[in-house]
């Protein structure tokens, strides 16, 4: 009986979402106060019913209700409680429910936290979000109901996919979805702006914190996913240019461009059309990501079931939102011309370049991701685009970006002068490069890759440049404006990330070895000794466990344990690597197969500076959080600023 409550709740939520969009969009059009108030109430109601459905499914997992097909396919009597809850979003239907829940949560937050918005505008934003909700609720109920019954109910379930039984997985999808779905808020703001023909500084000020919040979640979600792939999936790699990874990365690039372009639109009233387009792109790329994951058109680590009807449905939604919003854009954009100029060297120019480079990177990654699909559909052969392509097309636009960010952070609006800042910046760049060369030759003893020293140097320069103004303010005992501080922290994080990537890419060592008890192998000066192996029994798996002791110059460094787990139900093995973490490197041991003659295959890895990749992501997200807390995003109605108003040009670092 309880699962039917879930189905019913989803249906009611669908009807309410229709009401939410009709009340919102039509109500705003007719300027009907009652309808517009009803939008907010229906937003709350949609959220409550989706939450109810979600709880019903979670309850099914907790009490092992195998009469629900989805539970039977993704749970098991022996599955620990934490993974039974994570299993709610462990496969297609449930993760879609999570998608919808997060969408309705964003809508709820918008309706609760934006009291300062004019009623008409808020109604349009909520109405647009309602429309997105209608699409995905219909998708869930029509093609992917998680509450389908399986009768007679089996006594035990088929268990959760073993690679998903991991703590990082519990957090990765919700965080990533918060980001993915969060782009719909910026999209809704853009649609509302186009519908009302009003797009001024206060519009940007309303949109910015939401965009940054979504971007922050996306950053954390991608970092978590990369970390998870590192120790569960990827045998020690942190990024594979897998189509689904790309699918999450392209919206990130677009949102990053968007938060920078919004800054210009808020402060200078420029780039309006471009900002609107970016908001549409970011959301479209999120939908495209959903399509790629759901339809199974691409082979990927994350692909869910390949069900053509599901793929078609998402493709339909994708087309509807892209075509709809671009049509609206074509009608409205001419009336939203930006006015006002800026000098070639100015904050505007730097942000314009930032946008061009980020969008170029996103476009080239999109090309590489979709090309296999294009080739296949024209019967030109089955191809895959290799990681070197992505490395190249990503590095070429983003490497100059590192230098631009370091310099551009200190620019001013309209016309920037580097009379007083040029010298310190040049000094920082030189010191950064020298430091980079020192790290390469002294710490690692060799040049590395062609770009190693540039990478290290760029990272150090960026970190120094980011810290400069906050430190200067600290010394002068000035207040730290949160937006400026957030920007500095996020850019500092980019610097950390660049250093981490440079270190891993240049100096990592991977070695597959065959080892028996007592055997040793040495990489990067660390000696790995295979101590012993034994069988271990887990809650829902059996495992072979190997003990590996690591020494350096005879001194013990770490004792690692690595397991190959054989899950009882799904009969799928997974590898649990042993990782020793230090501030400057990871040592990584993964157990392979038994090779006969008492030997095992083992993969040994030395990963210098790899932690800074994820730490950089955390700093970026933290920077976003600090920026959202800026004073000017709080408080009530913001006085509308005239479109051509240029007095808002700020003197110092607000990004």
């Amino acid at each position: 009986m309880i699962p039917e409550i879930g189905t019913l709740a989803l249906l009611i939520a669908l009807v309410l979402a229709v009401l939410q969009s009709v009340f919102g969009l039509v109500g705003a059009h007719r300027n009907d106060a009652v309808w517009m108030r009803a939008t907010s109430s229906s937003t709350v109601a949609v959220f409550l019913f989706v939450l109810l459905a979600f709880l019903v499914l979670a309850y099914g997992f907790v009490v092992h209700d195998y009469s629900i097909e989805y539970v039977a396919h993704n749970s098991n009597n022996e599955l620990p409680l934490i993974y039974r809850i994570a299993a709610v979003w462990g496969a297609h239907e449930g993760s879609l429910l999570l998608w919808v829940l997060i969408l309705s949560t964003w809508a709820l937050l918008v309706s609760r936290l934006s009291k300062g918005l004019p009623d008409v505008f808020r109604a349009r934003v909520l109405g647009t979000l309602g429309l997105v909700g209608v699409g995905f609720l219909a998708f869930t109920t029509l093609t992917s109901s998680p509450f389908t019954r399986l009768l007679p109910a089996p006594l035990d379930g088929a268990d959760l996919n073993p690679i998903l039984q991991d703590p990082a997985l519990a957090a990765h999808p919700p965080m990533l979805y918060m980001g993915y779905v969060g782009t719909s808020v910026a999209f809704a703001f853009a649609v509302a702006a186009m519908l009302s023909g009003r797009m001024d500084a206060s519009w940007s000020r309303w949109t910015r914190p939401w965009t940054v919040a979504a971007w922050m979640c996306l950053t954390l979600g991608i970092s978590l996913g990369s970390w998870w792939a590192y120790y569960v999936l990827g045998w020690g790699g942190w990024w594979f240019w897998d189509p689904v990874e790309n699918a999450s990365f392209m919206p990130w690039l677009a949102s990053t461009a968007l938060i920078h372009s919004l800054a210009v639109t808020e402060k200078r009233g420029l780039f309006r059309n471009w900002t609107l387009l970016l908001a549409i792109f970011a959301f479209s790329l999120s939908l495209l990501g959903t399509f790629l994951v759901r339809s199974g058109v691409l082979v990927s680590v994350h692909s869910f079931a390949a069900d053509p009807s599901r793929g078609l449905f998402v493709l339909g939604l994708l087309l509807f939102f892209i075509v709809g919003s671009l049509t609206l854009y074509a009608i409205r954009a001419p009336s939203l011309q930006s006015e006002g100029g800026f000098a070639p060297v100015s904050r505007e120019s730097f942000l314009l370049l930032n946008n061009a480079l980020l969008v170029a990177a996103a476009g080239l990654i999109l090309l590489g991701t979709l090309w296999p699909l294009v080739m296949d559909s024209f019967n030109l052969g089955k191809i895959s685009v290799g990681p070197p392509y992505f490395n190249t097309v990503f590095l070429v636009p983003t490497l100059p970006l590192v230098a631009l960010v370091g310099v551009g952070m200190h620019s001013t609006w309209k016309r920037a002068s580097y009379a007083s800042k040029g010298r310190p910046l040049a000094l920082m760049a030189i010191i950064g490069l020298v430091l980079g060369a020192l790290v390469a030759f002294v710490c690692y003893g060799r040049y590395g890759l062609p770009l190693t020293i540039i990478g290290f140097g760029g990272g150090f320069f960026l970190m120094a440049s980011a810290l400069w103004q906050p430190l200067a303010r600290l010394v002068r005992r000035q207040a730290q404006p949160r937006a400026a501080l957030g920007m500095a922290v996020a850019h500092f994080g980019i610097g950390l990330f660049v250093i981490g990537v440079s270190g891993v890419a240049s100096y990592k060592i991977e070695k597959d070895v065959s080892m028996g008890p007592g055997d040793t192998a040495t990489i990067a000066g660390y000696t790995f000794r295979f101590e012993s192996s034994k069988d271990v029994v887990g809650p829902n798996y059996l495992a072979r466990e190997a003990q590996v002791a690591i020494t350096r110059d005879g001194a013990p460094v770490a004792a690692l344990t690595t397991q190959k787990r054989q899950f009882k139900i799904q009969n799928n093995p997974t590898t649990h690597a042993g990782i020793d973490v230090a501030w400057n490197r990871d040592l990584f041991v993964a157990l392979g197969d038994e090779l006969g003659a008492g030997k095992w295959s083992l993969r040994l890895q030395y990963k210098p500076l790899v932690r800074y990749i994820w730490l950089g992501g955390v700093f970026c997200a933290l920077g976003g959080l600090i920026a959202i807390l800026d004073r000017r995003y709080r408080g009530g109605i913001v006085e509308p600023v005239h479109p051509t108003d240029t007095e808002t040009a700020a003197a110092t670092g607000e990004g």
């Binding site: 996919n161 080239l364 090309w371 295959s601």
Partner: protein, 155 residues
């Protein structure tokens, strides 16, 4: 500079930028497109030797041979029409098993596929689309429409 001249230079700069980008993308593309060949096409000589390609199929039952205690492994993949022998040195993915679909990346050398990477599907029911298409209506009755729940290819 007159506005007209300024516009001309901007146009030239933009076109040059676009041209360079196109050139560099096509170069990067050329080098990194890996074509996929089923065993039948390898056997009939359609697949090129000496350039990186991918092959995929089912690992034949009883074909996995390993020198005792060594990382070198040899196996046969099949599309139930033709076979290809694959050699690989290193760790095989978790789900590498006889009777399962895999994709190998590497080069053909004297009719033997020297793999530098082996990818296996990550679920018993999931089939990479390339293999599914190759195996359509094959004797072992494996569904080729991919109508199976969650799964993935992984390394």
């Amino acid at each position: 500079m007159t506005p007209r001249r300024k516009r001309l230079w901007t146009l030239i700069a933009v076109l040059a930028g676009l041209g360079l980008t196109a050139l560099f993308v096509s170069k990067a593309f050329e080098k990194n497109l890996n074509y996929f060949y089923p065993p039948s096409e390898v056997a009939s000589g359609k697949a090129p030797s000496g350039t990186p390609i991918r092959v995929g199929g089912m690992v034949s039952k009883g074909s996995v041979v390993r020198a005792q205690g060594s990382l070198e492994v040899q196996f046969v993949i099949t599309d139930f029409a033709k076979d290809v022998t694959v050699k690989y040195t290193g760790l095989l993915p978790d789900l590498f098993r006889e009777g399962q679909g895999i994709i190998a990346h590497g080069e053909l050398k004297d009719g033997i596929f020297m793999a530098d990477e082996v990818l296996a599907k990550h679920d018993e029911k999931y089939m990479p689309p390339e293999i599914a298409k190759t195996l359509k209506r094959q004797p072992d009755g494996t569904p080729a429409d991919g109508s199976a729940p969650a799964g993935a290819v992984t390394r």
